[in-house]
């Protein structure tokens, strides 16, 4: 049986779901961040699969932009985590409740 685009998109959906479950169940801020990276990556996989299916380069260019946004997001997010860790001495997001979220 040949591999179809559906195989790739279903795999992408599975990776995205695992990422969401990671965000919802883990309380370590760094692991929550890594789960978000996993979700972005799953989106990239779907983009590239559809780019191949429709024979168009646009999907690949969007992946390029997602990659850049992920890099910027990680730089800011880890800076925030380091700053919070300095003042509160914890990376557990349940202990960071100053804003009553």
């Amino acid at each position: 049986m040949a591999v179809s685009v559906t195989n790739y998109t279903v795999l992408s959906a599975m990776l995205f779901t695992i990422g969401i479950i990671g965000v919802l169940t883990r309380r370590n801020a760094i692991i929550v961040f890594m789960s978000i990276e996993l979700m972005l990556n799953a989106g990239n996989l779907a983009f590239i699969a559809f780019s191949r299916a429709f024979g168009s380069v646009d999907g690949q260019i969007f992946v390029f932009f997602v990659l850049t946004v992920a890099a910027a997001e990680v730089a800011i997010g880890l800076a925030l985590i380091v700053t919070i860790f300095r003042s509160k001495n914890t990376a557990d997001i349940d202990d960071i409740s100053t804003m009553r979220g």
């Binding site: 040949a2 591999v3 179809s4 685009v5 559906t6 195989n7 790739y8 998109t9 279903v10 795999l11 959906a13 599975m14 990776l15 995205f16 779901t17 695992i18 990422g19 969401i20 479950i21 990671g22 919802l24 169940t25 883990r26 309380r27 370590n28 760094i30 692991i31 961040f33 890594m34 789960s35 990276e37 996993l38 990556n41 990239n44 996989l45 590239i48 780019s51 191949r52 299916a53 024979g55 380069v57 690949q60 260019i61 390029f64 990659l67 850049t68 946004v69 890099a71 910027a72 990680v74 730089a75 800011i76 880890l78 800076a79 985590i81 380091v82 700053t83 860790f85 914890t90 990376a91």
Partner: protein, 203 residues
């Protein structure tokens, strides 16, 4: 042959993802995520996107994950408390996540062939060509590309501003450093002054 390779790579990617969510040690999580990124880059290669496969390895598995590991080790945050506040929430997360998966699979599940009638081998070669990608990036997508550079600049400035020590903190640090010098001066000066004394006649 191709399907065996696909299923093997997909299994590695899923193992990486599940291991990342389940492992208790943050460093193990990061390494599992690197495994997942490597498997995904192999999938990109199978989808005629060699440039993005290489970018995936260098930017994601290389730069971003090294940053993660660096911060984990810097903060000593390998083993943070095991999910104590959550009671029913993980079960709800699993159920809702499963529902999302079912919903997505139903939405995208229509069989779409990997090589539809309109896509010729020439088009596939063009997809794999970095020159075509660059041409699109610098013509049709020029404005988003420039905005991206601005985004990176803002991220860099933001990271510097966020991690910079505040004036009060800096003063405290200076005071601590001064106190250390005063305390350590008896022991340190005895060790430090001898080589200086030896060096001076030579110089």
């Amino acid at each position: 042959m191709e399907s065996i390779f696909f299923y093997a790579t997909a299994a590695i990617a899923l193992i990486g993802a599940i291991g990342m969510v389940l492992s208790r040690n943050a460093i193990h999580s990061a390494l599992f995520l690197v495994l997942n990124f490597a498997a995904t880059s192999v999938l990109y290669l199978m989808l005629n996107a060699p440039l993005l496969a290489v970018l995936q390895v260098t930017v994601y598995a290389g730069a971003i994950m090294v940053l993660f590991l660096f911060v984990i080790m810097l903060l000593n945050a390998e083993n943070v408390s095991v999910d104590s506040h959550l009671r029913w929430q993980p079960i709800a997360a699993l159920i809702l996540g499963g529902l999302l998966l079912v919903e997505t699979v139903v939405t995208v599940g229509r069989p779409l062939p990997l090589n539809p009638a309109g896509v010729t081998p020439e088009t596939l070669n063009q997809l794999a060509d970095p020159r075509v990608l660059a041409q699109f990036l610098f013509t049709d997508y020029l404005l988003p590309f420039e905005v991206t550079s601005l985004l990176l600049l803002v991220a860099m400035v933001g990271a510097v501003v966020l991690t910079k020590a505040r004036p009060a903190q800096k003063r405290d640090q200076r005071r601590v450093r001064f106190a250390d010098q005063v305390e350590g001066s008896e022991g340190a000066s005895a060790v430090m002054s001898e080589p200086q004394g030896e060096n001076r006649p030579v110089a």
